[in-house]
Subunit: 276 residues, 2 copies
């Protein structure tokens, strides 16, 4: 197949490198900044540098830009996409973009299958891309009404490039769960490192500091967009977290050892039950 | 030297194993439950099983029990400790126990040097102990007025068994910093996994879920003691965290993209400045 990757940041770049490393497919790289596409070509991460017009050759196109930019790109260049080709995205939110891309797919005659690779790093850009970024990760698919054959084809491709599992879901379930599993830890990490104690942590810290603070090294523009486009589920999780932190705080404040031990034990039980 | 380790849990057991693996010192293991000491002897983690009376032979004794249990043990068995020997502990809080151990050191004629190995796992007990647990970790020392020669001797031993750096501090600074670097992430991890979304995370989660939730698999009794004995610094950090989470929440609620981006960018800057 010919696969077009649009946007060669960490995710798009990793798709290209993984496709070249683990499959025989031809990879077309499309990127706004020509220097990055040239670097990818030189690295052997893509077979050719494409333009929007090149989408006519692609069997599968994966949009790896900021969420709204994916929609804008298709609105502008949808006429180049081959009829019946598959178009997916890599956006971390789904409700705010899937219906728009679904509508555009009907307008332009391609098949839209939403997806979200559950992989990333606390660094950005093509420079951080990695052919093994997706190894063992979960590949989330929001079919949005696409035919099963298209879902299967995209799933197969995901498994070929290293994903460990496929989870088919709806935009609603996706956004609600991602608010918890991904967005909330990013909010927390930023809130955590804003303590005046943070700059003095060295020598006093170990794994728990490292882990909770890791993703604070955030792409602020991208994540602000993700948070605002998933505002209600994220606010609900922040409210839930606040209730639980407050319960723990209150037990500490009241010197209530039993209540405190019980709350911590609940946390322990959840992890034990999950086998973690 | 002869080194006595009192309490063969994950930390005490790791001290024994690290001493046997990386030094020529003789290791005396003292443990309340005889089966664990017998297992350690069988594993070659200790040279002999000791009793409190064995402390008369030890050049250095390291107390690896719950914080207040360390004080109680010395109060009860201090008469067996050789005059001029070094006694340290491994407790994660210092203000609440250092003055008591310092007083006991004067009463019984030993030299007390507080310490805290910045290493651990989200599992407990001798079964989780590991000869390489301390590799590259920071070893915190609270001399509490001990002579420099004793501090040096303990530092040297820490470096021999794999610690990567030594940080000399006061009980006050120790407890204030540990509230931030260690206790706060443990409170957060427990609060995080208490969300009703947690049990459904599989397939939707990746590194950020794993990292923030890791230490929720907590020893509830130990950590309740650590939190309550370090109540004020921990409450102060929880209040600071709450202010920062609230600022982020408010920006999301208000759809204030600029304020949200600025807050996230501050987090990014802190990590960048720290070279993380």
């Amino acid at each position: 197949m010919k696969i077009a990757i649009v946007g060669l940041g960490i995710i798009g770049g990793s798709y290209c490198k993984a496709l070249k490393a683990h499959t025989k497919h031809t990879v077309i790289g499309i990127n706004r900044t020509p220097q990055v596409a040239q670097k990818a070509l030189k690295d052997g991460a893509i077979d050719m540098i494409g333009t929007p017009e090149s989408l006519k050759d692609a069997d599968i196109t994966i949009l790896c830009m900021y969420p709204q930019a994916c929609v804008d790109f298709v609105r502008e260049n949808g006429q180049y996409i081959r009829k019946g080709a598959i178009v997916s995205d890599a956006a971390g939110i789904k409700i705010s973009i899937c219906p728009q891309l679904k509508e555009l797919s009907e307008q332009f005659g391609f098949i839209y299958v939403g997806s979200h690779p559950m992989a990333g790093k606390e660094r950005n850009g093509y420079i951080s891309s990695d052919e093994n970024l997706f190894m063992g990760a979960s590949f989330l698919i929001t079919p949005c009404g696409a035919e099963q054959a298209a879902v299967n084809k995209l799933s197969q491709l995901a498994l070929e490039i290293g994903f460990g599992s496929i989870k088919v879901t709806t935009p609603e379930e996706h956004d609600r769960m991602i608010a918890y599993t991904s967005q909330l830890p990013h909010v927390l990490a930023c809130a955590y490192v804003l303590s005046p104690s943070c700059p003095n942590h060295k020598g006093f810290s170990a794994g728990s500091y490292r882990d909770v603070s890791r993703v604070a090294n955030i792409n602020s523009k991208l994540w602000a967009e993700l948070f605002l486009e998933n505002r209600e589920p994220l606010m609900a999780e922040l409210e839930e977290l606040n209730r639980n932190i407050t319960s723990l705080y209150q037990a500490i404040k009241d010197r209530d050892r039993q209540a405190l031990t019980d709350l911590l034990e609940q946390g322990h039980q959840v992890k034990t039950m999950l086998g973690e």
